[in-house]
């Protein structure tokens, strides 16, 4: 009888332990993360969003991706939905450094933490934390390579990204900080191509009409670099004019391998996404204080070292 009693008690205790454990698991699984991305038209952002979702799901959270289509109004709708649907955290890849501040604030005011990925907001209080690539430093390094490649002398074109995005200016500033120290290197045209491949091709074709003698093109992202390179191939000038990009996209890495682009700067969206999800997890566990800005290193990819890199810095 005593043995039966002991077995019964043991059974009850075990059931209680299992029930408690399941309760914890359920609690974790209930956490929902909204991943609001500026656009899913650019493969770089697709990779960022997908990686964030996979990382969130691997930690037992429910994650859903929202595409803002580079439209702050649509982004605003996503934020309203995320708040109404009771999401526990938002990972934001902002559409506009200024225009997205109000959207992020809606969530923050509703008590939902916002972790920015890659694109920063111009108000540090608008997000719980911002995890961004060190674009400025990456372009300082790229600027050094650019000057050396040109032998400290030549003419170049700069294709800027979206003018409302801080990344556009951080990259441009880092690049100019170095290149502008060399008086014999002259910028003959600077124009925005909105981070878009087709637009970059059109813009460069038109610039080449007025400045056929340029030596290099610096582009704020790889999509534009690929568009610019396409324009140069069409004009038969791809061997004379060097093209420099930024991102480390699949196309760009392949192009450097085959002797196309001169260099790019590799970003690591995987690290950005993983850090953002890890911060969300820490928030769920009770942490409330996060660094305003966390920088992620970028690395220069050239024909000399391209063999050790895969697209988007996948590891």
């Amino acid at each position: 009888m005593r043995i039966v009693n002991r077995c019964l008690w043991m059974g009850i205790l075990l059931s209680l332990l299992i029930a408690c454990g399941r309760g914890e698991a359920d609690k974790t699984q209930q956490k929902q993360i909204a991943i609001i991305v500026s656009t899913l038209n650019n493969p770089w952002f697709v990779f960022l969003a997908e990686t964030a979702r996979e990382e969130a799901e691997s930690r037992g959270y429910v994650a859903r991706i929202f595409d803002s289509q580079n439209n702050t109004s649509l982004e605003s709708d996503h934020f309203e939905n995320a708040v109404a649907l009771g999401y526990d955290a938002i990972l934001l890849n902002a559409t506009d450094s200024d225009g997205s501040v109000a959207n992020a604030r809606k969530a923050m005011e509703a008590g939902i933490p916002v972790f920015c990925m890659d694109r920063e907001l111009n108000n540090p209080d608008a997000a719980t934390s911002q995890i961004v690539s060190d674009s400025y430093s990456g372009c300082v390094e790229l600027g050094g390579l650019f000057v050396r490649s040109l032998g400290q002398k030549g003419k170049y074109v700069e294709l800027l990204g979206l003018v409302g995005d801080n990344n556009t200016w951080n990259r441009s500033k880092g690049f100019h900080y170095v290149v502008d120290h060399f008086p014999e290197i002259k910028m003959v045209a600077q124009q925005s191509a909105d981070f878009d491949r087709n637009k970059a091709m059109e813009v460069l074709e038109s610039i080449l009409q007025a400045h056929p003698d340029v030596d290099a093109v610096f582009c704020g992202n790889d999509a534009m670099a690929m568009g610019a390179y396409q324009a140069l191939v069409a004009a038969g000038k791809d061997k004379q004019i060097q093209v420099f990009g930024f991102d480390g996209s699949e196309d760009a890495v392949g192009s450097i391998q085959s002797g196309g682009l001169a260099a790019t700067v590799m970003q690591f969206p995987q690290k950005i996404a993983e850090t953002a999800v890890a911060f969300s997890g820490e928030y769920f566990e009770g942490k409330t204080s996060f660094p305003q800005k966390t920088l992620v290193d970028v690395e220069l990819v050239t024909p000399a070292n391209v063999s050790i890199y895969s697209s988007y810095g996948k590891e």
Partner: protein
């Protein structure tokens, strides 16, 4: 006939008096205010803050850490070992593979190139040769290698970057010209500097060290 004050009517005299007082008051008030756009005021404040932080770092914090920096060849030998923990020798500012290091020692000038000076360090079995940059001094090596200046302390990223720019400018404009004006192959130099390496790439042959102190010994 000459007109004098007595010919002016009292009412006109009063108006003239108050007019003159008003003009003088307006002149004094106008010149006691300095009207500047808020943006430019903030910009000036930021520049001053950057200058103060950069100067304090370069003249106080950095030399304190540099005093205990390792000899170049010893450090490079340690970093070249497989599975060596770079974090125990260098500093990291960001998430990633880039580490910043400080070194100091005495070496002899081997070559003077357009953008760097090749310097040999060490004796006996432990010898090494490094490129000391003389042109491309633009990165974050000097700011980040000591670990004494962090983004959280400075607040804004633009200011943090501006500190790096100011430190580099100081080296480019104050240290390099004087050194290049005197240096010759074969001379012995006392050197302290900072460099960055990517853990993924390991210790490469062509990295350049950013000088912080350069002194010709003989």
């Amino acid at each position: 006939m000459v007109k004098n004050d007595k010919d002016i009517q009292p009412q006109k005299r009063k108006a003239l008096k108050y007019g003159l007082i008003g003009l003088i008051a307006f002149f004094l008030i106008y010149h006691s205010f300095d009207v500047v756009p808020l943006d430019s005021r903030r910009h000036d404040d930021d520049e001053e803050d950057v200058a103060q932080r950069a100067d304090a770092y370069f003249l106080q914090s950095l030399p304190e850490v540099l005093a205990n920096a390792p000899e170049p060849c010893t450090l490079l030998a340690a970093l070249s070992q497989k599975d060596q923990d770079w974090a125990s020798y260098g500093k990291q500012t960001n998430i990633g593979n880039r580490y910043y290091f400080l070194i100091r020692g005495e070496g002899s000038v081997q070559e003077i190139q357009d953008s760097y000076v090749q310097v040999a360090f060490g004796e006996g079995e432990q010898v090494c040769s490094l490129r000391v940059a003389t042109v491309y001094i633009f990165g974050n090596e000097i700011r980040d290698a000591s670990g004494k200046l962090a983004l959280e302390d400075v607040g804004e990223l633009t200011k943090f970057n501006a500190i790096s720019e100011r430190l580099n400018k100081r080296v480019r404009e104050e240290i390099i010209p004087e050194f290049l004006g005197k240096v010759q192959v074969g001379q012995k130099i006392r050197f302290a500097g900072a460099f960055a390496l990517n853990r993924r790439l390991g210790v490469t042959d062509d990295f350049e060290v950013m000088p912080v102190q350069l002194q010709i010994v003989d």
